[in-house]
Amino acid sequence: MNITQDRSRLNSRIMWAVVTAVIIVLAALSLFPFLWMILTSFKSAEEINRMPPTVWPQSWHFSNYVHAWTKPESGFGRYFGNTLIVAGIGTLLQLVVCIPVAYAVSHFRFKGRGFIFALVVSTMMIPYDITLIPNFVTLRHIPFAGGNDWLGNGGQGFYDSYMGMMLPFFADAFTIFLLRQAFQSIPRDYWEAAQVDGMNHFRYLCTVLLPLSMPPLITASLLAFIGKWNGVLWPLLITSSESLRPLQVGLLYFVSEEGPNYQHLMAASTFTILPIVVLYFLCQKWFHAGVASTGIKG
């Protein structure tokens, strides 16, 4: 009896060691692309074309970054600025649109509240692809925008504009869902107390509810910001001017311009990824909480 127990313990020890080894290998593989990207971004044109490849750069060419940054017509600085506008203002306006509706479905008592929330959640079932083409046409024909007349004809609407890149994403079901969960966890008694103090809904929302819901609010903003930062397909469709390109689209075009100069491509990839990685390290705990909540909703 004792021997079999010992053996099974030994077996499970070995098993554990094997699993640990596998996980460490997987973790290394997961990190490898980042490492390889950074190492390559410092190598010379001659060095990257060696076979077998060198691991450590023989000399560090910081000029790759300068080259990549300034190579596109408007420069990557401009693309960064565009992305900051689209992701920053886009996230801000997304909150401005989503907070009130989340507040309405969590703190108001009225007929149709359940219906409104059901309507919001059901948009999660509509795949992103199907909305692309109709939204493209819709945005071109927004009345009075971009030289359009009141019927939405004649101009190009929000095509090729910051607004065109941002507008379809202001109302986002997932953000509304996340915020509603947060608001619901705050007792309604607070509202009753606030009413005694003579507060109206707007003041209550701004001075009581939002400060109390900071962590989920940060999670929602982070997820929205990163989604917009990394977005490609929609900005690619809706813009045509070089100077309006956001970072990801600029990077796509940079690939076709640079061709085989991978040291420059790796430099551009590095500075595209870096801000989000830094943001991630600064706000880690909110990230995991937010992503996990996508699971909890099922």
Binding site: P33, V101, D129, I133, P134, T138, V232, L251, S269
Partner: protein
């Protein structure tokens, strides 16, 4: 008499509370209105408008109402078509459906199994948990465009590190993004077999280029799956484990009879999200093939095909018809999964 009194009472109630109620509803709607309008315009309206567009020959402006012609073209020419000498052949849409299927089959099971193993391990092992979770999560928040460029570099045919590894292991080096032969056909050839002429070569599995995209997709989405499963694992009541341990259950039994059933709602959710995701996959396909879907269309996913019909060829009506079909397929798949998955899923309440 009695009746009258209740009505008066009700009337008083309305007078006392009716107005504020009414006002509350009004304010509530006002708060919800901006989001509702935007959702109606950019989420619901596209469903109907997309169907409408799909009935037109529509370049950059609507040209002609053609009814179901776009759909007829999809199903009789582009999905499969009859070649006078070769018989029934797979069309461009058919091939992109197959590519998307290979992609789904290649990514989803491996990702979910790996994510389960890793999250189970991380859950048991509190020491390295934070660090490892970060390591696996990084790819998920990384720009897919930038990451795909890095993968293209790693799998570079002449000076890529992947080929250099193969060389060290004395394995044949590969022309990852150019070789149009499917893996099944290559394997058959290396075993000395010959691919039968009557079978279209697209059925020989993914090409190496698609395999690299599959590896990329696993790398990219693993962290998301892990974080969701970790959340699920921490919801399993520890008494369940303790009780099972008392009964002498060992780890494999424990996993089979406690962990997996308790985790099944999360696994099911991941499955549904992943299937929908597979049919929306665009970024990696676009970057790896430079938007062309090559070699020979073997990395042309359905969303990329739709994008090209719209963006490159300006066939708005046709592309819209395709995306309606894609929507129908995704809905059907989700329904099937609910139909057959629901029974196997164990909900806690």
């Amino acid at each position: 008499m009695h009746k009258e009194r209740t009505t008066t009472y009700a009337f008083k109630m309305i007078r006392r509370h009716g107005r504020p109620r009414h006002k509350e509803a009004l304010i509530g709607f006002a708060y919800a209105l901006p989001a509702l309008l935007l959702l109606l315009l950019f989420r619901f309206w596209p469903l109907g408008f997309g169907v409408w567009i799909s009935f037109w020959k529509w370049g950059y402006v609507p040209e002609k109402f053609i009814g179901f012609d776009n759909y007829i073209r999809i199903f009789t020419e582009d999905l499969v078509y009859r070649d006078p000498s070769l018989g029934l052949q797979l069309g461009a849409v058919g091939q992109s459906v197959l590519v998307t299927l290979y992609y789904a089959i290649g990514t989803i099971p491996i990702t979910i199994v790996l994510a389960f193993l890793i999250s189970y391990y991380l859950f048991q092992n509190r020491k390295g948990k934070g660090l490892l979770r970060t390591v696996f999560f990084l790819p998920f928040i990384t720009s897919q465009v930038a990451a795909a460029i890095v993968f293209k570099w790693i799998f570079h045919p002449n000076v890529g590190v992947a080929n250099s590894m193969l060389e060290k292991l004395r394995l044949p080096i590969q022309n990852w993004f150019v070789d149009p032969d499917p893996i099944g056909m290559k394997l058959l050839a290396s075993l000395g077999g010959h691919w039968p002429d009557w079978l279209p070569i697209q059925f020989g599995g993914p090409t190496l280029a698609l395999a690299v995209i599959i590896i990329f997709a696993i790398w990219s989405s693993l962290g998301f799956n892990i974080v969701i499963l970790l959340a699920g694992l921490s919801n399993v009541p520890s008494e369940l484990y303790e009780a099972a341990r008392m009964d002498g259950a060992r780890t494999p039994t424990l996993i089979r009879h406690v962990t997996l059933p308790m985790l099944s709602p999360m696994l099911f959710l991941l499955l549904i999200i992943s299937v929908i995701g597979a049919f929306e996959s665009f970024n990696a396909f676009y970057v790896f093939s430079g938007g062309e879907g090559g070699p020979l269309g073997t990395t042309m996913s359905l969303p990329l095909y739709i994008f090209r019909s719209f963006y490159v060829y300006g066939q708005v009506g046709y592309a819209s018809a395709l995306s309606i079909c894609l929507f129908a397929v995704v809905l059907a798949l989700t329904w099937i999964q609910y139909r057959f998955g629901e029974k196997r899923v164990h909900y806690q309440h």
